[in-house]
Amino acid sequence: MPTVNLTVNGKAVAADVEERTLLVYLLREHLQLTGTHIGCDTSQCGACVVHVDGHAVKSCSVFAVQLEGSSVVTIEGLAVDGKLHPVQEAFRDNHGLQCGFCTPGMIMTAVDMIRRKPQLDRETIRHELEGNICRCTGYHNIVSAIEDASKRMAGGAA
């Protein structure tokens, strides 16, 4: 069984996993980082989105062995010293969730989105969210939360 060396949320991790182990299973079952969810398991829903070397990827659609040496950030890694990330704050303030199942993926996608496109309008946010499915909210408050977060971060509130 190969050993995969990763940095996960800033900490060095060495995990012995089968080659066929998907990143999401390494996170959830080997590292007990269960904030990353498995929704559809077919790359549609985005509940499993994490950042690999700074880019949003679907952790159900990449084998852990492919990422040897990479840096992975999950929803658990966003808050710093107990202080929520501005995107997390904005989701809370805008009621950007109901059941919360899709929320980790939504937030990881939103952080990546704001990094790539600091100037976001609502139409762009909706377009950028096409790989993330929410079955509760109708997206309205999620879009508001991301719009709010992008303004806060542009304003240096981050």
């Binding site: 949003a56 679907k58 659609s61 990449v62 492919q66």
Partner: protein, 269 residues
Amino acid sequence: MITYPFTYRRPASLAEAEAALKASPDAKLIAGGQTLIATMKQRLASPSILIDIARLGELRFIRREGDALIIGAGARHSDVATSQDVMKAVPALAELAETIGDPAVRHMGTLGGSLANNDPAADYPAAVLGLAATVTTTKRAIAADDFFQGMFQTALEEDEIVKEVAFPVPEKAAYAKFKNPASRYALAGVFVAKTGSGVRVAVTGAGPGVFRIPEMEAALAKSFSPDAVANIAVDADSLNSDIHASAEYRAHLVTVMAGRAVKAALERA
């Protein structure tokens, strides 16, 4: 979902990858894995060895060379969508890349992977065929007209690896895609390009594989305007019919998308 077990290799160079592929007839290349992994999870594919070429720097580049834009097979869709060189030389190609999958998929999926897979609803084949691009492999250069050979079929041999694609820089080009509202795959996508050597029209999503429409190309060569293609219909008999759209509907979409692509190409400064 769990795939069948496999052995994983990550060669340090393209030459090593080629040797590994030659040595193992049951091996498959993996780059972005955004199609292959899903297929393996459904257990529709079960390669015994995966040869990972995603990190080969020699395959991940974009550069302008005279009248051509050269893109490495390992370029991610997000690389192409955001490249200044692509936006300047062939903006239609950057726009096309931005419509593939979703942002997370675009961070992983590659040009070479899309072409080698040749999904009948993939976007890149329309650009490669529409621009008369040349696909260079570890063995040879293949013209777009020879590369695509129908549903999931290409001219690639078992131990041949796509290295790069040379896209001629067109005078005008655009891609119009009618997306399935759920999957965002093309129900019909039409790439129209006007170059020094004429006009080409390539269609994806509608048929069993990407194809050209010579009648539209001839009409557009005479008059490059949406009206020129408005009354040219493709034969529905050769198109796909499924729960998402009938062949007749797809045939209608092809004409509409062709007109929109011409309009978009003309509106580009």
